[in-house]
């Protein structure tokens, strides 16, 4: 997969010639710079792969408990019946086999930044020269009274893909026609701003075909949301009468849940749900907090030119956990930030050239069969934070063939980003 150029081949020969003069292989391996990456999602895999293909002189380790990774992006399409879970689940085999990335399937439980070590769940310490922290999000179960990790098996958030997604789909398939599906989108900031609203479309798509007397009640923690005009157009065009969106200013938001009786409690009203998709408030993955990388809001401040932590020059934070200002928390953003970080990491570790930080994000949403919409922007490292250079969004009332093309683009992007992550 990686291309062996004449120049690189020469460099390897030079390395092995030098190695033969050294006393022991252990000396050589100890001399390799060590990059450790916490998290095997869009940020972590991309950073690891780009550093690994950028230099043979850096050893790259990913610490990730999961053996296989199910992408959160496109998991709504699984709920709608457009994708299987298997089709959005990926192996780390190519990263390990072709890029030489050392996969450690364990939990990173602590970081000693003074000693530059990561403590693993099974007790060992892993030393690093540079650390990438890309842990994604932590669910703040306490943000809703009565909600908890246990309650989430009955009222899934499905905001981390895999078993949670499967639980929500199973419940949708088991419910009787005529029931109420409650979707409770979280307060800002949260992973994937258009996600809850694409999900509403996908659940409605399933219900329209299978349980057409059912309703979706959206109990939002906010008064406006991403791509709002586009989603509301889709709800009218494709699912008229099925979806009721209740903004925070009307309901006061979800105050409590009772998982045993499937009740969702607001200030003045309680709804009995057939299925309840409760998405709580979020913060950076817990390891970021344990490592002392978070601010008072629970997210990690970074240098906008490199994604380097403002708390520690040897640590980079990418993806959902970072304070990326104008950039939304998305898999695309994490992948983009990882490449800026990889460029800076290679400059740190090998002395290669550091280029100006340029970022990009595009979020496609499928609203119905052959009907896709998108929003996106380019970004740069600004004086204090990541800044938008320009942006675009799909328009309401677009022709059907354009919408069909946009939905095909989303499939092309999925193929592209997953190859960019996993090789």
């Amino acid at each position: 997969m990686t291309k062996m150029t004449r120049r690189k081949f020469g460099a390897l020969l030079a390395t092995s010639a030098a190695a033969s003069t050294l006393a022991a292989p252990a000396v050589l391996s100890a001399a390799k710079m060590r990059l450790v990456v916490i998290g095997g999602g869009p940020g972590g895999t991309t950073a690891a792969r780009y550093v690994a293909k950028g230099s043979k002189d850096v050893s790259v380790t990913i610490i990730e408990p999961k053996q296989n990774f199910t992408t959160c992006f496109f998991s709504n399409l699984y709920l709608g019946g457009f994708r299987t879970l298997a089709s959005i689940t990926h192996s780390y085999g190519t990263l390990a086999g072709q890029y030489g990335v050392n996969m450690v399937h364990d939990v990173a439980v602590d970081v000693d930044r003074a000693a530059k070590t990561v403590k693993l769940g099974r007790g060992a310490d892993v030393g690093y020269d540079r650390l990438v922290v890309s842990p994604g999000i932590e669910m703040l179960y306490d943000s809703i009274e009565g909600y908890s990790r246990e309650a989430s098996t009955m009222m899934p958030h499905a905001w981390q893909a895999g078993t949670q997604s499967a639980a929500l789909k199973t419940q949708l398939e088991a419910m009787e026609d005529g029931g109420v599906v409650v979707v409770a989108p979280p307060p800002n900031p949260f992973r994937c701003p258009p996600g809850p609203y694409e999900r509403i479309c996908m659940i409605a798509h399933y219900l329209k075909a299978n349980k057409p007397k059912s309703k979706i009640m959206v109990l939002d923690a906010k008064n406006k949301f991403s791509k709002q005009a586009l989603f509301q157009e889709a709800w009218t065009n494709h699912y008229d009468g099925m979806i009721e969106w209740v903004p925070e200013e009307v309901s006061g938001g979800v105050k409590a849940v009772k998982a045993d009786s499937m009740e969702v409690v607001m200030e003045d009203e309680t709804v009995k749900a057939a299925v309840a998709n409760i998405i709580p408030a979020q913060a950076a993955g817990i390891i970021a907090k344990r490592a002392g990388l978070t601010n008072d809001g629970g997210w990690c401040p970074i240098d906008p030119h490199s994604m380097r932590s403002k708390m520690d020059e040897n640590v980079f934070v990418i993806g959902d956990a970072s304070v990326a200002s104008a950039m939304p928390k998305s898999g695309f953003s994490a992948n983009s930030q990882a490449k800026v970080a990889a460029n800076a990491l290679l400059a740190d570790l090998t002395g290669s050239k550091k280029f100006p930080a340029k970022f990009r994000n595009t979020c496609w949403s499928l609203v119905a069969t052959d009907d896709g919409v998108k929003v996106g922007a380019d970004y740069k490292g600004g004086d204090e934070k990541i800044e938008v250079t320009s942006k675009f969004i799909s328009k309401t009332g677009e022709a059907a063939d354009l919408r069909a093309q946009t939905s095909r683009e989303a499939n092309g992007w999925y193929d592209g980003i997953t190859k960019d992550m996993f090789g």
């Binding site: 990009r360 992007w413 193929d415 190859k419």
Partner: protein, 126 residues
């Protein structure tokens, strides 16, 4: 494959030239020469290493291998064709209107899009 793109490139270049002749009544040769001169100038200042870095933001969508769906493959395309296409997005010509690509192209300097074109043209076609 290369021959196909080379012939496509010639036909696109001639199409541009002939359209310009129809509108402005210029000599086809001078328009073609001006276009080719512009692309050559852009490619002359291209930097593959910078192109490789910038390309990171392209390959999130443009996969290097597999059957393309909705988003075309760009690895291994001729540099002149890639420069011409990115300029069309940047300048809003030749019916290139995809808002994602227009948004990207307008943020790229001629040096940057030339560097991208050089880098992608040097990649293997799979």
């Amino acid at each position: 494959m290369i021959a196909y793109f080379a012939s496509m490139r010639r036909s696109i270049a001639w199409g541009v030239a002939l359209a310009a002749v129809a509108v402005a009544g210029l000599s086809s040769l001078s328009v073609l020469e001006a276009e080719e001169e512009r692309y050559a100038k852009i490619l002359a200042q291209a930097d593959s290493a910078y192109g490789e870095y910038l390309a990171g933001q392209c390959v999130t969508c443009h996969a290097p291998t597999g059957a393309p769906e909705g988003i075309p493959h760009i690895h291994g395309l001729p540099d002149v064709y890639l420069v011409q296409t990115m300029l069309a997005y940047k300048e809003g010509t030749h019916g290139r209107t995809n808002p994602a690509m227009v948004n990207i192209a307008k943020n790229l300097s001629e040096e940057e899009l030339g560097s991208l074109a050089k880098y992608f043209s040097e990649q293997p076609v799979n």
